[in-house]
């Protein structure tokens, strides 16, 4: 009886996956030729999707902080594991809007580096503050991470595609952090995750020194 039930579930799951795979493949077959063949502006690195996609991943200080958000969410567990990665891009958007509007934000370089130190430190120390505290910390640093993205909007290209690339890249970095953070449930994984936290904090320290040296 149990075997039959498990078999039924497996079959259902396989069916779902195969249907999804078919739909995705069909879409993939439709899209590339269409997109590459007809769109001259907006897809490649001209202020469009790829520009937005590359912007968050070309700065190591941004990358490590965003990965750290995912790692910390994974350590904190539900509901933080999904609330923090939702909150960060949304609040980062607020920071980006401030950047677009040329709203001045003090010591941006220091703020971003400090975020990597703080978040890496939280991961390394296995810190589990209340969700509200974690949320406030994330929100504060997200403003700093969003501001340069908005301020760096190219004068050309397609803003909607740039925004999509920027948000998707940020979200995927969080997802990457969460995926790695899920190793935390195993002893060796816990060591790896906490070591990664130390590394992130170290990278943040390096960028903090750079920022102080530049007077940012």
């Amino acid at each position: 009886m149990l075997d039959t039930d498990i078999q039924r579930r497996r079959t259902g799951h396989a069916g779902t996956v195969s249907c999804l795979a078919i739909a995705l493949l069909a879409l993939c077959a439709l899209l590339p030729g269409v997109v590459l063949g007809h769109v001259e502006v907006g897809i490649s690195g001209d202020g469009g999707f790829v520009s937005g996609l590359l912007h968050p991943v070309t700065g190591l200080d941004h990358v490590v902080a965003m990965v750290a958000v995912g790692l910390w969410g994974a350590i904190l567990g539900a509901p933080a594991i999904w609330i923090l990665p939702i909150a960060f891009p949304l609040i980062m958007t607020v920071g980006a809007v401030l950047g677009i509007l040329d709203f001045p934000l003090p010591a941006i370089g220091i703020g971003i580096a400090a975020s990597a130190i703080f978040l890496g430190g939280m991961v390394a120390a296995n810190a589990r503050p209340p969700l509200a505290i974690a949320f406030l910390a994330i929100a504060f640093f997200a403003i700093y991470h969003g501001h340069p993205h908005g301020a760096a909007l190219p004068d050309f290209g397609v803003p909607l595609l740039y925004a999509a690339g920027f948000v998707v890249a940020t979200g995927l970095l969080h997802v990457g952090g969460i995926a790695f953070g899920l190793l935390y449930r195993w002893p060796a994984g816990k060591t790896a995750v906490r070591t990664m936290g130390v590394g992130i904090a170290a990278v943040g320290g390096y960028f903090l020194l750079l920022a102080i040296g530049r007077g940012l």
Partner: protein, 200 residues
Amino acid sequence: MAGHAVFLLMVGAAAFSTPAYAHGNADTLHQISDGVVLFFTALEFLLPVLIVALLAQPNELRLAIIQVAALGIGLLTAVVGLQIPGDPSALGLYARGYLIVLGLLVLTNLRIPTGVVLVVVLVTGMLTGLEAGEAVNDDPAAGSALIVGFLSSAICFYFSATLVASRYTEGWQRIAMRVVASWIVAIAVLDIAFMSVRSG
């Protein structure tokens, strides 16, 4: 069942092009292709589809039907020259505003009266259609074949996306949908800011 429907829709989408190619001349073919391209290469058309698909409850196609109908009406309204009152350039702002509303509905998972949801979806579909109509009007040589290409690809994508998304009922799958909805909200907010700055 839904998976089979998705598969059949995809086959239908592939098959659709064959009779069109067989009976139309080269210009018609290009216009149909341009209509398909217009839909699939513009996030302002794809994102409303995706967000309504995420909003749809399991086995519910009502929202997709309403949105497709509203999109068609909005598109034809724009093509015949009717515009929304006020500044025409504000159309994108309105459309993105409704995208944010829909995104927040998915994100917060609030229990909103069905009638309100239907009205929001209807207005979003109309605004998307009006935007599409403006894009069609930008190409004076575009004929009805372009509209056919646009609407057919829109219909296929609307129903496929809704059917696929409405199958995801597990807890973590609904959370993933809310994450995607938050991304769409963020994209729409950024686009509104970009548009506001560019329009001075």
